[in-house]
């Protein structure tokens, strides 16, 4: 199927990405060629095949639901540009 600028804008919103200037034309063209390339997957006969969820067919190992305070909160928050009183700062979301 073809991909137009409306599709790109919808995907960019879903992906929380912005594209500036020439980037928009470039991503439209290249995404279309990537999708055309992966379209060949439709040729495989997979009617009786179970999708593969894990390369070694292992199940996820679970651990006890207990806190593991091995990383210092202050050091973790030092990675952010905007924190105050142990909280992350974001633009106002409720007027």
């Amino acid at each position: 199927m073809s991909i137009g600028s409306d599709d790109i804008e919808k995907l960019a919103v879903l992906a929380r990405l912005s594209f500036e200037g020439d980037e928009l034309g470039d991503i439209t063209d290249k995404l279309a060629s990537i999708v055309a390339f992966v379209d060949q997957l439709g040729e495989a006969d997979t009617a009786s095949v179970t999708p593969m969820a894990h390369p070694l067919d292992q199940v996820q190992r679970l651990r006890a639901d207990a806190p593991d305070a091995d990383i210092d909160r202050a050091r973790l928050q030092a990675c952010s540009d905007a924190t105050e009183d142990g909280l992350y700062l974001v633009p106002r979301v409720i007027e």
Binding site: A15, R16, V38, L41, T46, V49, S80, P91
Partner: protein, 487 residues
Amino acid sequence: MTAMHELTLTGMRDGLRDGSFTARELTTHLLARIEAAQSSLNAFITMTADAALAAADAADARIRDGSARPLEGLPIAHKDIFCTDGVRTTCGSRMLEDFVPPYDATAVALLADAGAIVLGKTNMDEFAMGSSNETSFFGDVHNPWREGLSPGGSSGGSAAAVSARLVGAATGTDTGGSIRQPAALCGITGLKPTYGRISRFGMIAFASSLDQAGTLTRTAEDAALLLGAMSGLDPRDSTSVDAPVDDYVAALDASLEGLRIGVVQEFMGEGLDADYAVAVRAALAEFEARGATLVDVSLGNIGLSVPTYYVVAPAECSSNLSRFDGIRFGHRADNPADLEDLYRRSRGEGFGAEVKRRIMTGTYVLSAGYYEAYYLQAQKVRRLISADFARAFEEVDLVVGPTTPTPAFGLGEKTDDPITMYLNDIYTIGANLAGLPAMSVPCGFVNGLPAGLQLVAPAFGEGRMLAAAHQYQQTTDWHQQAPEGWS
């Protein structure tokens, strides 16, 4: 006397132990080489000279008092995808240009506990998305074998650093060939272990069902030495596997006699450079002469591995990279109009073009109406590809073929067309989709540029695979060739 930088990692270990040189002398020598090479190769993003020299002095003290650990004093570099406590970790991206992690990746911690010394963090394709090291925010890496050529990617900085004898070994990650392809293009040995063999904790995620840490070394023996130190169950990675860690170095002596090697027919035909094929066939003849049996095998669905990968990997990447929101860490856009604008502009400015393409592809194949046709279908084809390998391993111990279709290509040569770039990983992606251990070893030259032989083993068959590579390296010297100007 052999110059220190010409020694393999194992040779460096022996030199330190017998007192031929100290860890400080070795570290100082290699730090000077890294600095001198930076303007021509650009293999490093960050150097850690002060910490390395302090660690070298501590290593010398341990060697003197008899408490040396298995990798004591050995100089390595980490791909800049591994989080290093207190040391900037960029993943080759503007998004993480100033990111200093508050913890070590498990692989980093294990190598440090074994005594290895980190000289710096190596350049890489942004978020490991690339096959040429050209998507890095920190500039292209050049192939030590010829200026202007790509070292491959995404672990291009690690491969160039080992090839140019700047470090004894380096870590890498391999999601679709990102260790084996640059190893082949730079004339070194690259190992991608079984999925789950080495913990992914602290290794910045690209595609979680495919990502696997591994090694870039001069020899299979060096790879065995590092793999033993890096492997094992990690409670902090729920996909790390609880399987015994073999003594990979002890396993290296296994003879090639009786080894059954499957030659993948789909890899030896159209698309493979004719001279590259000659090098691979000569390597196969060497295995045969040493007592191995060659068997033709077919992987019937392998032709769909690249499109399968370019659905599964972007889908997982679009989910994994949603954590970069401009708020908790990473690039944050100035003066956002609102929260949505903060997310979109932080990500739009922080990510490069290839990363954005993959996030968009992943978002597309996971979106309503397309999920079944693309993502679910890819996961089904992935099972078919995995089943092809399983069938082959009923007949043979290893499957082999070329690592790449051609030797190193020019920087800028493939950047306009993503599909052409993606096809560079046509022989390597299958092992990732099936979760299998695989490696590349130097097997000759094409027009003066290195060619690689790929070996793939059944899950957790690293020992047998490393032994076969090691035995091959006992009677060939391709892995000992240094690029001109770097010996």
